[in-house]
Symmetry: C2
Subunit: 249 residues, 2 copies
């Protein structure tokens, strides 16, 4: 199997240049879209590509704990909108003034506007009680389902489709509406559809709610808070440097 001519240096398994750029392009220009979805329907073959991309996510012990519930019935959608609205109002009270008013002024979901609405759930009991890699950390099913959503999101961006991941709801409310077994956890309502633009900056930044932190704050070497030594000196200087990508020229 091992070609001795390859022993020096590694074989180049990187994607072709344009494909590689595409991965970064999707990562950098993906946005959490909450408004201005266009009414144009998403073709079924595109929706299926997105679901397949999600299904090809990694999962702990290959347990594939996810389910995707496509919302077709407008009455179900209305019910979801109602409980999200309820939770939004409750959250506003918790935030207190002036954060409360600011929060209520934000459009945080597009449950009714997005042509496609998908409820994503986790079944922690899938594949039985002892899943490889999950014994020491039961949250690993959550990691897996989140990865599936991330895959779906990047595929959507590649297709020119915007997505917003809504988590403003009570688990029990969504369980009731979607008829979920009690042990199945809804982790998101995904709003999807074509958009007129992918904004340059995250909405929460434009709205001055929160800001992108310098990456250098979040990188350590060998232990929490450790930012010293030759390796740190060498790597840290470029962590916050803005790359110039073709799509930003």
């Amino acid at each position: 199997m091992i070609d001795p001519t390859e022993r020096k240096g590694h074989p180049d398994l990187s994607l072709p240049e344009a494909e590689k750029r595409g991965v970064y392009h999707a990562i950098y220009t993906r946005r959490d879209i909450r408004r201005e979805f266009l009414p144009d329907p998403v073709p079924e073959e595109v929706l299926i590509r997105l679901l397949k991309a999600a299904h090809h996510a990694p999962s702990v012990g290959f347990m594939q704990p996810w389910n995707f519930i496509l919302i077709e019935n407008p009455a179900v959608r209305q019910e979801l909108k109602r409980v999200v609205d309820k939770e939004r109002k409750a959250a506003a009270i918790v935030f207190e003034s002036p954060r409360s008013e600011k929060f209520l002024s934000l459009k945080v979901e597009a449950i009714l506007d997005a042509p496609v609405l998908i409820g994503v759930t986790i079944d922690p009991a899938r594949e039985g009680p002892f899943v490889l890699g999950r014994l020491s950390d039961p949250d690993t099913d959550v990691y897996s389902a989140s990865c599936a959503i991330m895959n779906l999101w990047l595929a959507a961006r590649a297709e020119g489709i915007g997505m917003g991941w809504v988590t403003i709801f009570r688990r029990e409310d969504v369980q009731g509406i979607l008829n979920l077994p009690y042990h199945v956890k809804p982790i998101g309502l995904l709003c999807l559809g074509y958009v007129r633009e992918f904004p340059q900056r995250p909405m929460l930044e434009t709205e001055e709610w929160a800001y992108r932190q310098p990456l250098s704050k979040h990188v350590f070497v060998d232990g929490w808070g450790r930012q010293e030594g030759p390796f740190w000196d060498s790597i840290s200087k470029d962590l916050d440097k803005k790359d110039v990508w073709p799509w930003e020229r």
Copy 2:
């Protein structure tokens, strides 16, 4: 802002064809790599690209709860290897025979072999107690950090770099070794490096431990378990169809 000529049909914001293909290429050929890392070092500029890709993941309320701890000190690496090994042995006992022997025969981590080792952590206290979108579901910080790891993983695949996400450890052990505050949760030890190949199928499938499930089992319409109606009939027939992608020809 709205160009009236665009009112009919949506503007095409999909990525250029090759870039779009790149996103799917990375998603479909990414593997959880646990063995046969090549010793070739990962250049610092590539490592930085991967960390930046992770940092551009979505996060709930833009809280960016992640930290990346680059392991440079061989003694720290040895310590991590020791606690992962301990947990692996404990897991084998829980699995019971014959699953136990099979599990022990699998190579489930490359802590010592991978040129790059990164501990990823979640700080649930980041950005204060009330983070937008997190009030109803405190696990949303876990979703965010998982998305960061997924971004990093796909960027790595694009760069020809293999990655394995190791979760076989006790939180308290890794907290001790990496000097984490008690509230900070380690969610993975990422083993990264160049590889000779990305296997066609997941290792757990090749090893007959677990199998990819048909996607159609995991898609419902309007509620748990509901697989009926014209929309279901139309969409379900293609959910399990294998796509022919250029890299599979």
